[in-house]
Amino acid sequence: MTQDIKIVEAPEGYEGSGFFATSFDKVVGLARSHSLWPLPFATSCCGIEFMSTMASRYDLARFGSERPSFSPRQADMLLVAGTIAKKMAPILKQVYLQMAEPRWVIAIGACASSGGIFDTYSVLQGIDRVIPVDVYVPGCPPRPEQILEGIMQVRELTHNESLRRRNGPEYQALLASYNIQ
């Protein structure tokens, strides 16, 4: 490995002789950002590109995210890759509901983000109609690089998120706006 890769940096904190103190939030955020287990909700073309992302050349494993958890309980981020038809929307929502907090959602590709070219009677015009979305990845389908960008964006969010955010009123209000208790 000749290239320098960016590995984890110690979180900000106070360092003294023989001690190092940092906030708990930061450590947890750091740990979470390095262990985001994806739940691939792959329905169509973008799913194939997600496979490429998982495959050898792009290797999602580098970020500690190679363990796909097909059980929503164990997953940290929901990767919605592909068209979500209106028939599928309730199922998507249910999967989201089944996920344990903290959970993040990435909409991969034009179809999941906005419906893309399928502005039709049967296609949901963006999954943000049914569940809150943290990151949108444009492209149809996005290249694996872009999917990685999206995942890195989620890592950024994870890293900086306060431990209490999920109990906060803002988050509750966001969920309430989607009729999720």
């Binding site: 893309g116 444009p138 890195m152």
Partner: protein, 192 residues
Amino acid sequence: MQLTNRSKQVSNKQMTFAERIYLPAIATGLGITIKHFFQKKVTIQYPEVKQFLGPVFRGRHVLKRDEQGRERCTACGLCAVACPAEAISMVAAEREKGEEKLYREEKYAAVYEINMLRCIFCGLCEEACPKQAIYLRHDEFVPVFTERDQVIWGKDLLAENMNNRYLRKAWTKEEAREQDLKGVEAEPRTQL
């Protein structure tokens, strides 16, 4: 049913004794995987190492300016018509006096918006443009969004930055072919 004389039976379901006792095949398999264990890895360390995406890759859009920095777009609307996703919209305006430095043609797009989440990067707009105005960059993606209201890109984001111009080997496919025939070295597919 035999329809042609080119058929070829390919599946043999009879197992030999060696195949029947599992172990030789398992050993072969283990040999293959351990060989790969010591092989060079093909992974590209993405954020640090970026791969060249090919000379015609269809990445993010750019509204080209000409040599003097004038916008080339004449708001003819062909790109919007050609767009299968109906992601492009524009408002045309007449060029006023004194704006010759800004716009090359007499008509220009006062508003030019692309919904980046609708766009499918098919390249039809680039192909439809008769004014060499819109291109899909081969070296850059559209970044990811975190909010839905960031996704409609106006001219501020689309128009080319004169300080950091978008360059490419050939601007049309005919040009590319000529260069190719002349043997102009293709860009290597390595680090960007």
